[in-house]
Symmetry: C2
Amino acid sequence: MSAKPIAGPEIERLIQLLARLPGLGPRSARRAALHLIKKKEQLLVPLATAAAEAADKVRVCSTCGNVDTADPCSVCTDPRRDPGTIIVVEDVSDLWALERAGAMSARYHVLGGTLSPLDGVGPEDLNIAALVDRVVSVANSENAVKEVIIAVNATVEGQTTAHYLADQLADTGVKVSRLAHGVPVGGELDYLDEGTLAAALQRRSDF
Amino acid sequence: MSAKPIAGPEIERLIQLLARLPGLGPRSARRAALHLIKKKEQLLVPLATAAAEAADKVRVCSTCGNVDTADPCSVCTDPRRDPGTIIVVEDVSDLWALERAGAMSARYHVLGGTLSPLDGVGPEDLNIAALVDRVVSVANSENAVKEVIIAVNATVEGQTTAHYLADQLADTGVKVSRLAHGVPVGGELDYLDEGTLAAALQRRSDF
């Protein structure tokens, strides 16, 4: 690889920034930059505008930790959502994934990560105290939270965090639940790990 | 999939535009957008600026068809490059790939595609006449072109285009060559197609 840049500095800068996106390496960033340049009016100019507008408008919701262009976010202010159910997720991407599934019309709470003592992430680094406050503050109102669904990843860190959360919420009296383990829909048994298969057998349901 | 947008319109617009980049689908575009939003100052704001600057500055080189922020491009104006050799490529991405290889310090000519009668792409749709003009115009000067290397893809369309180009250049008297066929460096014979193996055997060199 020669170190000299192939194109002008503005193009090189665009390539460098695109290469920092997840899912794009140096080679695909170059391809993406070239695609943007070739479709300048349809893609590059709109992207510049959209990125500037998003940067200007984006807010972190002070209630739940979601990102949106309004604070409180559109999920927190949606009157059709059940205020009695809060789904706790690690990250905004998990919130988006659950919204795509469209299975529940609940509110959310974004932790911003998981407890990880090895990486120095303790309870005070996550959005946990705000969750307990949120549950306690509405305890005797008509918007009282009835159930907190802990929807963290099924990793060791996720499960540690889930146990800590359940402990913290124990005194509030709300029901605390978590996602089911089992065979993914469309999944083939042969490709699943032993833990998942054991959980699916153990928690089998009547046919 | 619910049709309703998950986040504000500015964020949705950013996701939609990112999803149109090669290598990013709808899901990875959402992940990329979220990454940009989370790193607003380090990534989203610089990307907006870089995209706007690139859109403002980018030019198609009127000599060779390369994209750059100058016209003629930095390759065409580089005095250290041999003006006697022109490497003909299909696309700017091929020019970049050959520059990364750094094997020759020549000039380029970007065709902008390949002949494809089925898709209605004829010689007049490609940057072919300009190549012949370019060769003819300097014929008796000190910058006379001595060799045109046809570096198109080893596809049917590429080879058809190569033959057409060789015909067009026949009267100019310049040497016309093309890339070698053979075993890719690091390639395993077992995974190569018959055509490549036959070519590698036929064009074998002395050890």
